[in-house]
Symmetry: C3
Subunit: 192 residues, 3 copies
């Protein structure tokens, strides 16, 4: 984990790679467990994902990371590149956990994923700025997926589609991802 | 997360709110999963809990937090208000995890909840003082619940009532909650 | 948690005890859940393990800890004795989690255990040295278990024997254990 600052281009590339790994591996869990299904035939796939999913997710993570950096909100904790790896790994672990919750009562799945998401924010950077990004992700991410499901491109499995077609714990998963994304740029570009 | 000290009254109120949220959400998981049942009719409920449960639990957490502070044992780690949120969220996540363990062999559930509880203590404040509060909670909490079950007010589901009517992993869950409660007062009243 | 340095003999004894507790409790989870079975009769058992398993595992952990210390690679984070307890508890929790994954798709179990293993390394000591020990453990540990299974001394349950007779997530579990073992000697002998 070198400590020299990175250029903006290399920082963006590193964030895209990290988001791609987390998005592809997490989505592979959801598809393998039957949490989600892709409904359109003839779309190229990458691992278990239709190609548009990792592209859209990586772009959204990069946009969140870059906009958070530009907004200049103050971080409570300065994060290193190793922390960025830990943060991405924790979000991926939570992603995989959600693939285990298809037969679990909604109360349990939402409380479990929600409490871990709050812990991730409080550990990673308990700042108002990261909270705002996390909350924004918790609203915009599920809304985007609801639109995708409504368009018929993908669907959530029967027992976990109770939130307008998507999983009730989905806002919590986006909250955790948003909290980490909020400080990903500074953690990778110029770690303290 | 303001850094100014809080009055004793406001600190107590903050602890009660935190304990109420964790207790209600965790108990809702247990009721939803069939881990526990309330047996008396005609008692007012709050979310999924009979009203006496969150009242008793919040009072016990506040008492543990205040007595630990008064006892003046030395903390190894100074905790902030954000840490208090993280600690409460981790205890709630462990609470929700226990609601997933109804069909799991007792060996696995006890080792899982016990090892996470030890990790919570070693992360939050690995001091002899916090260990004493955690151990006390691990004894007194399950004893109180055993008395409640014996009185017929509530019961644990069939496969998880092997410890005198309560779940074998219950002492581990109280251990984790006690460890965090031990430094909750100082974390909220006058964070470092 | 006293801060005085320990002699090499006492450090080795402490590591053996820690590894024995984690190995016995974790293996008890695997046996209880049907993840693994011991196949030879007439071998003395300790808890649920044939006696050779905790002996071999403790010896391997001690060797990894001592060789990592002797190799003199540089740690990024100085770890305390309390951290050693936390690290051992986290590895044991992950060990217990693997006992819950017998009916889970391989993609989900490998991504879950793998992402937690990476997070353990990035939290405990995100150094190239600890990464090398973790990677070595992820190769040598499963190879040794594959040989044990091939010799007929033990076996993995039907749905989790897809990696030459052992579980596909086994390298990830050894990775996490190896990462922690890499700095166990210094954490216990002479904590910072």
């Amino acid at each position: 984990m070198a400590d020299r600052p990175l250029s903006a281009g290399r920082t963006a590339a590193a964030i895209l790679v990290l988001a791609l790994v987390v998005g592809l591996a997490g989505d592979a869990c959801h598809v393998a467990a039957g949490t989600t299904r892709y409904e359109w035939d003839g779309i190229p796939t990458l691992w278990k994902s239709a190609i548009w999913f990792p592209v859209a997710l990586s772009g959204a993570v990069l946009a969140a990371a870059w906009l958070s950096e530009r907004a200049g909100t103050q971080a409570v904790r300065v994060r290193s590149r190793a922390d960025a790896v830990a943060g991405a790994a924790v979000v991926l672990a939570l992603y995989a956990v959600t693939a285990l919750l298809n037969d679990v009562p909604t109360t349990v799945s939402v409380v479990l994923v929600g409490s871990i998401a709050v812990a991730v924010w409080a550990w990673w950077d308990p700042s108002p700025g990261a909270l705002a990004v996390a909350a924004g992700a918790a609203v915009l991410g599920p809304l985007a997926e609801i639109a995708v499901v409504a368009a018929g491109a993908s669907s959530y499995g029967d027992p976990v589609d109770g939130l307008a077609g998507v999983a009730p714990w989905l806002p919590c998963l986006y909250f955790a991802a948003g909290a980490v994304a909020a400080r990903l740029w500074s953690a990778i570009a110029d770690p303290g």
